[in-house]
């Protein structure tokens, strides 16, 4: 009797864990070499701003923060593979993508401060608001991909999805709809091994997340998510397929969340330090730097520029977020609808007089 079984799937890798060139792919890193210093710089900046946001939270300046430490290569590599006009649909942890696109970190800081939903500064750079409710963004990305095709602008869209998010019904519906309509959409799963306290092995039973592609009739690739060059090249290929009308791709970037789920979380309650340490040894920043060194492309000026840019953005972030004044409460009524209804105007007036009364 014919029973379907799954083949194993190797990770695409161009940079070895120790930073030397890796043979595990048929891709050529040459095309990426020129851009690598700038990717490295964005990864450094991401790491530093991530730290600063954790700091700000500890100082009582943010309500909460979900750090991306460990996932910088997965995020920066993916963002770098896109055009500036390709819409990205983040979950919430994609700081590296935001910074690659040049989003002002102050907007991100104010989001986590609890001063706005969605984050200011994203939409203007073709990034959808963050989608805290897991999975929904995948469908938005498919709809936008269909629209992009109708507009004929040659764009692609990227849905960012966590390993946990793959369990949600919406992500299934998104993969299926994209496959059926051949939408120019890339499903980019950052498998960081944990969904809060749930390990990926309890999230699904397939040999890998990429194996899900088969059930949708969609090509799928596993990539070493701590290898920025591999992420860049794999997403570039997926984007080229999409732009050529060949439809969606599922990319599983295998990485690790080195920090807590959010600043409210204590990961020591559910995972071993040893596991964390083993992934710290695969740190995407160090690997990228060693690879640059191997390739003879590294010089101290790269590191210095990165640290300088990080420093100035940290300062900008702190200045914009620390004790930032709260937004005006009355504005809440202004963007429920395109025009406030009579009822909303009435309620706005009631709150206004409350606020006046003190």
């Amino acid at each position: 009797m014919d029973v379907l079984v799954a083949d194993d799937l190797a990770c695409v890798q161009l940079i070895d864990v120790d930073g030397s060139p890796s043979a595990r792919s048929g891709l050529d890193p040459a095309s990426a070499l020129d851009r690598l210093p700038s990717l490295y710089e964005t990864m450094v900046v991401t790491r530093e701003l991530d730290d600063e946001l954790v700091n700000l939270q500890r100082q009582g300046q943010l309500a909460l923060f979900a750090p991306c430490r460990g996932q910088e290569a997965a995020q920066v590599g993916c963002a770098a593979a896109l055009r500036d006009t390709d819409w990205m649909f983040p979950q919430y942890r994609e700081l590296g993508c935001f910074l690659y696109r040049g989003v002002d970190p102050v907007g991100i800081g104010l989001l986590w401060r609890g001063a706005s939903h969605g984050a200011r500064g994203l939409v203007e750079r073709a990034i959808a608001p963050v989608c805290i409710s897991i999975g929904g963004q995948a469908l938005h990305a498919v709809g936008a991909a269909m629209a992009t095709r109708w507009l004929g602008d040659g764009g692609v869209t990227v849905a960012f999805i966590g390993d946990g998010a793959t369990s949600e019904g919406d992500v299934h519906e998104a993969l299926n709809l994209a496959a059926v309509t051949r939408a120019p959409c890339i499903f980019y799963v950052q498998n960081n091994h944990w969904a809060i306290s749930t390990p990926v092995a309890e999230q699904l039973r397939a040999p890998s997340i990429a194996h899900k592609g088969i059930g949708y009739g969609m090509p799928a690739v596993r990539v070493d998510g701590n290898d920025v060059v591999a992420c860049l090249l794999v997403v570039e290929q997926a984007a080229a397929r999409a732009r050529a009308g060949e439809g969606p791709t599922l990319v599983e970037a295998v990485t690790y969340r080195l920090g807590p789920h959010t600043t409210s979380d204590d990961p020591s309650r559910y995972r071993d330090d040893a596991e964390v340490h083993s992934w710290e040894a695969r740190d995407p920043l160090a690997r990228c730097r060693r690879f640059l060194e191997h390739a003879g492309r590294f010089d101290e000026a790269i590191e210095r520029r990165a640290r300088e840019r990080a420093g100035s953005l940290r300062a900008r972030l702190r200045a914009g977020v620390f004790d930032a004044p709260d937004p005006a409460p009355l504005e809440l009524f202004d963007c429920v609808f395109s025009e406030p209804t009579d009822e909303l105007l009435r309620q706005r007036a009631a709150l206004a007089s409350e606020l006046e009364a003190g």
């Binding site: 709809g143 109708w150 519906e173």
Partner: protein
Amino acid sequence: MVQALNAALSDAMEADDKVVVFGEDVGRLGGVFRVTEGLQARFGPERCFDVPLAESSIVGAAIGMALRGFRPVPEIQFDGFTYPAFDQIVTNLAKYRSRSGGLISMPVTIRVPSFGAIGSAEHHSESTESYWVHTAGLKVVVPSGPADAYSLLLGSIECDDPVLFLEPKRQYWVRDEVERGGNREPLGKAVVRRSGSTATVVTYGNLVATAMEAASLAAAEEGWELEVIDLRTLVPLDFETVAASVAATGHCIVLHEAPRTLGMGAEIAARVQEELFWNLEAPVLRVTGFDTPYPPARLERDWLPGVDRLLDAVERSLSYEHA
């Protein structure tokens, strides 16, 4: 009404090539009620098309299309199947504008064949309006006949906000001359379908016909002159029209199919007593479905509020006295 809706879709698609229509069985088949018939042939499969059987995906994809400047008019095949899309509607569609600080509009009109009284199977006769009316960020429209169906659908599609457009299936087979030419009805205006000074009946959708029938009967048999208000849009609510009428009559009865508890009647009653406390000669009464799941087809006639249940309430209101 099917023809009027079809005409509105067709005129909207003609006028604006950003209008796209999709859903389950709306393309090749033209919809299980034929509301989208001929649209695929006329506008091509990029503008009117079928999607897989997954309601959350229908609304979720519409959000992405709207984000890129389209005006999606998806169909959810039946009222009860809006529930699998509830999360996308409430969590994302309703909140996208405010989440984006007002930068992103969501001009999405979700058409939903709705309400009961057609002898159908479970989940095919639901009154879903309370769920949407309670959710900030959604507009809710319920036409009661062909002419309104045409102009309100055009008004909804033109509106830059998400609209739940609930079509009373029972009215699908009502035919009426509808003036085309793209006259849109702005959302938020109720209409007095019949004037009267004895008592005010506030309703919408299928039950406008019931109220009109009751009003004729009441005039003929009891000499009561009922004022019948068709709300047409539940959000925004045209409370002024209700208030003006109740101020004059002193009696108010709200009529809907949805279960009583937290149906629209609760909101209207709360609002009327808040604002017209001294005008009322009797409490606002609610004539509604019961707090049970919608019954099997053979029992729907007993379950649904009809002319008798309404006139009973009018009588109770008119004869209301100090306990």
